[in-house]
């Protein structure tokens, strides 16, 4: 059966399914129980599974992640919610020095099936610390997996796959897409969690992104098509590890690549993509890989976030530049 669900509802349905399938799955976070989370992603789950499996924790991100590690040591599969991207940092120490390394440190004797859900990104007109894209900090940390759904279907399936993973997964939810509806087929066979995917085929240039950026890239591809330029669009889905198969193949086909994300460009996911694509497809490239990113400045106040966030025009400018080489 195919349903039309918002991304928030789709992730909610995925959580519900994972909790039904395995009673060791439990949710923890701030305001996730009675309130259902500030974005309502966990709505109804406390009623369905009880307060021992949907924990409204004390207000402490280090506490949430640190205790999730202890729970994981004893066989639980905690799914932590960080309320907003900008508030993950009190938990940064536990995530990067403990969660990420625990398995390697104990030569595989301890597994860390912990998921950390992070609503991330801009476009919501909020005050500071509510619109950030901190992916790169975590991608830089060995031992962590990072994924980000762009559609309701991926929200539904990927959250379940993330929970099933025996490694820690940071699950970046594009909060500006929470209210967008999309088709969800609960029976659909899922692509692997870390597979990147061509979501629109094209021949002149490749544009790559993840999360909320996908809508912008598709919009850019529409406009380009009207102007006679054919763009191939790739949804990364996974930021660490990155599945380079479809990416390199596309780069070899089009010879021109633009990568886009909201996060600042310095030492970013885009930098990593540009470097690796250059290494692996050098002889096919007709132009340097260009990055379209947020500027290397603190996230702007609401009234001017629009000049910071890459839009279709900015992507198309970069496409023009790679085509001009």
């Amino acid at each position: 059966m195919i349903e039309s669900l918002t991304m928030a509802k789709a992730i909610n349905a995925g959580l519900h399914a994972a909790m039904s399938a395995d009673d060791k799955v439990l949710l923890m976070g701030e305001d996730i129980g009675t309130l259902g989370g500030v974005f309502r992603v966990t709505e109804g789950l406390k009623n369905a599974f009880g307060e021992n499996r949907v924990l409204d924790t004390p207000l402490a991100e280090s506490g949430i992640v640190g205790t999730a590690i202890g729970l994981a040591m004893r066989g639980y599969r905690p799914v932590c919610e960080i309320q907003f991207d900008g508030f993950i940092f009190p938990g940064f120490d536990q995530i990067t020095t403990q969660l990420a390394k625990m398995t390697a440190r104990h030569e595989g004797l301890l597994q860390m099936p912990v998921v950390i859900r992070v609503p991330y990104g801009g476009h919501i007109g909020a005050i500071e610390h509510h619109s950030e894209s901190p992916e790169a900090y975590f991608a830089h940390t060995p031992g962590l997996r990072l994924v980000s759904p762009a559609t309701a279907q991926d929200g539904f399936t990927m959250i379940q796959q993330a929970i099933a993973s025996n490694d820690p997964v940071l699950f970046f939810e594009p909060k500006s897409r929470y209210w967008q509806k999309g088709e969800v087929d609960r029976e659909a066979t899922a692509a692997p969690l870390h597979a990147s995917r061509v979501i629109r085929t094209g021949s002149d240039a490749t544009v790559i992104g993840h999360g909320a950026m996908i809508a912008t890239l598709l919009q850019a591809a529409e406009i380009a098509a009207e102007e006679g330029t054919s763009l191939e669009v790739i949804d990364l889905r996974s930021l660490s590890p990155i599945d380079y198969g479809p990416i390199v193949e596309s780069a070899q086909k089009t010879g021109r690549v633009v990568v886009a994300h909201e996060a600042p460009g310095n030492a970013s996911i885009g930098s990593e993509l540009a470097a690796t694509i250059t290494e692996r497809a050098f002889y096919s490239l007709q132009a340097p890989v260009l990055r379209v990113t947020g500027y290397d400045v603190p996230y702007p106040p609401a009234k001017i976030e629009a000049v910071f966030l890459p839009d279709a025009d900015r992507v198309l400018d970069a496409v023009d530049r790679v085509l001009a080489y």
Binding site: D56, A60, E61, P90, I127, P298, P301
Partner: protein
Amino acid sequence: MAHEDSELLPGETPVRFLDQDGRALDETRYPMPPLSELQAAYRALVVARRINEQCSALVRQGRLAVYPSSHGQEACEVAAALPLAERDWLFPTYRDAVAVIGRGVPPAEAMVLLQGDWHSGYDPREHGVAPQATPLATQLLHAAGFAHAAKLRGEDTVVVAMCGDGATSEGDFHEALNLAAVFGLAVVFLVQNNGFAISVPLSRQTAAASLAHKAIGYGMPGVRVDGNDAAALLAVMHAAVDRARAGGGPTLVEAHTYRIQAHTNADDDTRYRDRAEVQEWVARDPLIRLRSYLRVCDALSAAAEDEITAEAEAVAAELRDALQAEHVPDPEDLFRHVYAERTPRLEEQWAMLADELARDAESEHAESEHAEHEEAR
């Protein structure tokens, strides 16, 4: 500094001077503040309430991005600012715009953050007010460091550091209190316990008898005070400020109060609390309590009330005027103060953006000319 336990533990009941009808209670732990100060506090309370109402209205009109109201908590906001000398400093949160204004920050500047124009709109040095903090409890450590600087400089500056009940669960809260106590710093930690951290009740933040009980663990006194009784708050805050100024070190003050509005305009509090509970607290309104007392004391004439109302209306008008203006921040500001000096990379990025904005403006111009042209035909 060694202390007797009994000096550090909070009393069995919160400090309270006034009952809800404004009758003076038999409170012997602190001296009642002088009437003149209570009159000043009442004036500030009325202005505070008006600011809260005005800002909530401005959110509904789309003039503010968000407003975390301190409606019902105004006595705490007033008592945070009033006992401070000009040279002292306040470290507020997102909920404390009223205390910020109470320190003399012009209302329009205090609203810059919530309006989405910039991350802070006032000069902290001019008013002795740190920027309003959003990441919970981070500002408490800054406050301790600021007080440490005063100590190193041989100054008698006092710092009031504010946070909510939920924020007391963050690691930074514990680190700040511990550091302040270890170094004997002049910080008064004022926790507004309004019962909730968004939807999460106090029982999920602590298993202690009260938040003030945490103080003894750090070796500083903890005081519980009725957060809707301006007289009690002022008495307690004065004592803590005086103690800090005299070199006696930090104090943790827990004010029992209640958030009458939802967490912010974006929150739906009907999901997690009873209307009856809210109504109970509406009946404990801090304004009514102090007003009744002043009336009983014959210390609030009708003329004075008119004057106070007029002052509150003037502040509200100032807020409305400031927020009517369609101010758009300058995009170049994004690049200006990231570093003491702009880096070449930021120069480049600004040049790219400036070029893009110029092209946008040009095509907009061309479009409107075209439209005019069409109209003329």
